[in-house]
């Protein structure tokens, strides 16, 4: 009986001391929703985004979206310095555990981005599942651009990236994935580049973060990369056949990157799509459209492959894949020669079912 009593007392003590709850209520914490990093004349400028502390469920419907968040910009040589600077500037405890997105300026030195990603992965208080993206014109401007459908506490960009199979190319990447790509032998991460166009924030291009710096791709190179990496999703391609413009929709592609032993990279792309509008079309018209689409896809693949050669990067993880089978830690694999072969078929055209 005495032992049972002693044990119950001990368990009761555990129960009261190990509740797992922090002593801080949610009103005493400054919850970081997003972070951006820009180069600055004096060094680096970090912008932290918080939900507006005066926001309540009843006031949310009446206030403008731009007032749902508050931002704070600080300087700091490292992420830790920046967090300390933010902490000393506000009355609440900074909480990083719910950060949704990190926006980076593409003009940052690659080394800085690499170091930041490593720091974020090493910081156990930081969620490694947060999204990471480049943003222009500057990272902080992009972060503070509010969209009408934005509703605190979800940041617009996080909702944008979370929407699976919505965007083409599907370039969204999480912090741990970007870090992972940088540590693997290919040492190249592909990050989306979010920008403002017609008053909207959207992602139409990507940037490569490799050993030789950061390269922002053109839209055509981005499309080529997406095809090669099987990240195109469900896109559409417009081509001119004669004077008529055809839009092939629901383009679904499967590409295979085959590194050859002589340093060449051979790419096979198989794809299908539909033409929903107009018609009826003759077989020769459809054949011509198929040829044009195949040419268009091949030329964007070539553009991406040439960009890889020019910048000496390995975004297709050729070296990484090679390391699984031969066990070594090879240098990033840059193709010496490239060859692309595209086969495209229109499975449904106009009224022909």
């Amino acid at each position: 009986m005495r032992r049972v009593r002693a044990a119950s007392a001990f368990l009761l003590l555990c129960l009261t001391l190990l509740t797992g709850c922090g002593p801080l209520s949610i009103n005493e914490q400054a919850i970081v929703l997003a972070v951006s990093l820009d180069p600055d004349r004096a060094g680096w400028r970090w912008t932290f985004m918080f939900p507006n502390p005066t926001l309540t469920p009843s006031s949310e419907a009446s206030i403008h979206t731009s007032q749902e968040f508050s931002v704070l910009s600080v300087g700091g040589a490292t992420f830790g310095d920046a967090v300390d600077a933010v902490q000393s500037a506000i009355d609440r405890k900074v909480f990083l555990g719910l950060c949704q997105v990190v926006v980076l300026n593409p003009r940052l030195p690659a080394e800085m981005v690499r170091r930041l990603l490593t720091t974020l992965v090493r910081t156990s208080a930081f969620p490694h599942r947060a999204w990471v993206t480049f943003g222009e014109p500057t990272a902080s401007e992009l972060l503070t651009t509010t969209m009408p459908e934005e509703a605190a506490p979800t940041v617009y960009l996080a909702a944008y990236f979370k929407c699976r199979d919505c965007h083409s190319p599907a370039s969204e990447v999480r912090i741990w994935e970007a870090w992972d790509s940088l540590v693997l032998p290919s040492r190249t991460a592909v990050l989306p580049l979010a920008s403002r166009a017609q008053g909207r924030v959207m992602v139409q291009r990507v940037a490569w973060l490799g050993p030789n710096g950061i390269q922002v791709l053109t839209p055509s190179e981005t499309q080529g990369w997406a095809i090669l990496a099987n990240r195109l999703g469900q896109g559409s391609v417009s081509v001119f056949s004669g004077a008529e413009r055809f839009t092939v929709r629901r383009v679904s592609l499967h590409s295979q990157v085959i590194p050859q032993s002589n340093g060449e990279i051979a790419v096979n792309v198989l794809g299908t799509g539909t033409i929903d509008e107009g018609g009826p079309y003759t077989a020769s018209q459809v054949a011509l459209v198929q040829q044009r689409v195949a040419d268009e896809l091949a030329s964007s693949c070539m553009a991406a492959l040439h960009a890889m050669q020019r910048n000496r990067v390995d975004p297709l993880a050729v070296a990484t894949r090679r390391s699984w089978t031969d066990g070594g830690f090879p240098a990033p694999d840059v193709p010496a020669h490239v060859a692309v072969h595209v086969q495209f078929r229109v499975v449904r055209a106009g009224y022909l079912y």
């Binding site: 001990f10 190990l18 490694h128 870090w179 830690f329």
Partner: protein, 366 residues
């Protein structure tokens, strides 16, 4: 031993399962990959057969002697030498518990409650564990049955959701051709997984049907632990690739934290696994402290509470010191204790082998 103090083979398997694998998973698979790189896959495949071979040898060599635990059997076979071997193992086990306890404390204070210092976790979990160790064996058996099932099912089911994150499935396949030196190196760095394995040899002697079913349940236990280790290896390496795993202190926890189920009440269900393994740690502590309590001052009914308390106090004190030196702890566990348990096994089996040979010659002579 009265019949109500024995356990079923399934309970023995579950106690052994928790008592062994729950300590090994903390660093897993980091040390093996650190040593073997891309060849670590071979070492992972060898982990199970390695243990089964050792068990088969023990089984064969211990057959002539009876006893209620490994300590009494060793004494019966080797006399004072057996007693020494038992003490040697107890010291190893206390060091091992201290290292695992410090890892558990560090992990909890990093992942579960960042503002709570590690020693608090070690003291409380080990305290509850030590109390459970003084319970009668069937009670411990039921505890293990409950938590081994919950932890096993949750770990595998939630991990299965993480298959979406498998970016590098081909990284999990072992490299061909096989180079022996790195594989042996990687194997040496994973022996620590099995440090508490003599628990199996004691539990075998506490089941209600010692001659027929027990070996099968024990084999299944080793098989299941091996399967869990392979699963965690595949999930970790398949998600991150081999090289990044070397840069992480808790690769498995890292990978489980990435698992997200948005339609679930808690979005980060992977953290649930971490919480469940906290409870499993208590059962792990109980199983091994029970073993020390039986080995050093064996009684038929239960482990000696004073031995359990002393061993726990020693392990906790050491663990609280070790958590200040994380690099040293990792080295102690994955390298030094791996070598130490291998040496202990080799010495014990060697002595037993000589004893069996001498016994056979004596019986032939008479």
């Amino acid at each position: 031993m009265s019949p109500e103090d024995t356990i079923t083979p399934a309970q023995a398997a579950m106690i052994a399962g928790i008592g062994i694998v729950a300590g090994g998973i903390y660093l897993w698979p980091q040390p093996t990959i650190q040593a073997g790189g891309q060849t670590a896959g071979w070492a992972v495949l060898a982990a199970g057969p390695m243990m089964m071979a050792a068990l088969a040898l023990w089984n064969a060599l211990l057959r002539p002697w009876r006893g209620s635990d490994l300590g009494t059997v060793l004494s019966a076979a080797l006399g004072l030498l057996g007693r020494l071997l038992t003490w040697w193992y107890a010291v190893l086990l206390i060091l091992y518990m201290a290292a695992v306890g410090s890892l558990f404390g560090t992990l909890s204070s990093e992942v579960l409650a960042p503002r709570t210092p590690a020693p608090i976790f070690i003291v409380f979990a080990a305290g509850v564990g030590a109390w459970a160790a003084t319970l009668r064996l069937p009670t411990l058996g039921r505890l293990a049955q409950l938590w081994a099932t919950i932890a096993g099912v949750l770990t595998i089911a939630i991990g299965a959701v993480g298959v979406r994150n498998l970016h590098w499935p081909s990284a999990t396949l072992p490299v061909i051709p096989l180079h022996l030196a790195p594989v042996v190196n990687a194997m040496l760095r994973e022996v620590y997984l099995w440090v508490p394995y003599p628990l199996l040899l004691t539990l075998v002697r506490r089941t209600n049907s010692p001659f027929r079913h027990v070996p099968r349940a024990v084999w299944i236990s080793v098989w299941a632990q091996w399967a869990l280790l392979i699963w965690l290896y595949a999930l970790t390496v398949g998600t991150l690739g081999t090289w990044p795993v070397r840069e992480l202190r808790w690769p498995t926890v890292f990978v489980y934290e990435l698992i997200e189920v948005s339609s679930f009440l808690i979005t980060q269900v992977g953290v649930l696994v971490v919480v469940v393994w906290t409870v499993v740690f208590i059962t792990f502590w109980a199983a091994n402290m029970w073993h020390i309590g039986v080995l050093l001052r064996g009684k038929a009914r239960a482990a000696d509470p004073r031995v359990v308390l002393a061993a726990t106090a020693l392990s906790v004190a050491l663990g609280c010191v070790l958590q200040l030196f994380p690099a040293f702890t990792t080295q102690l566990l994955s390298a030094d204790l791996s070598v130490a348990i291998a040496l202990w096994t080799a010495t014990s089996l060697g002595c037993l082998g000589v004893r069996v040979l001498v016994g056979r010659r004596a019986s032939l002579g008479s």
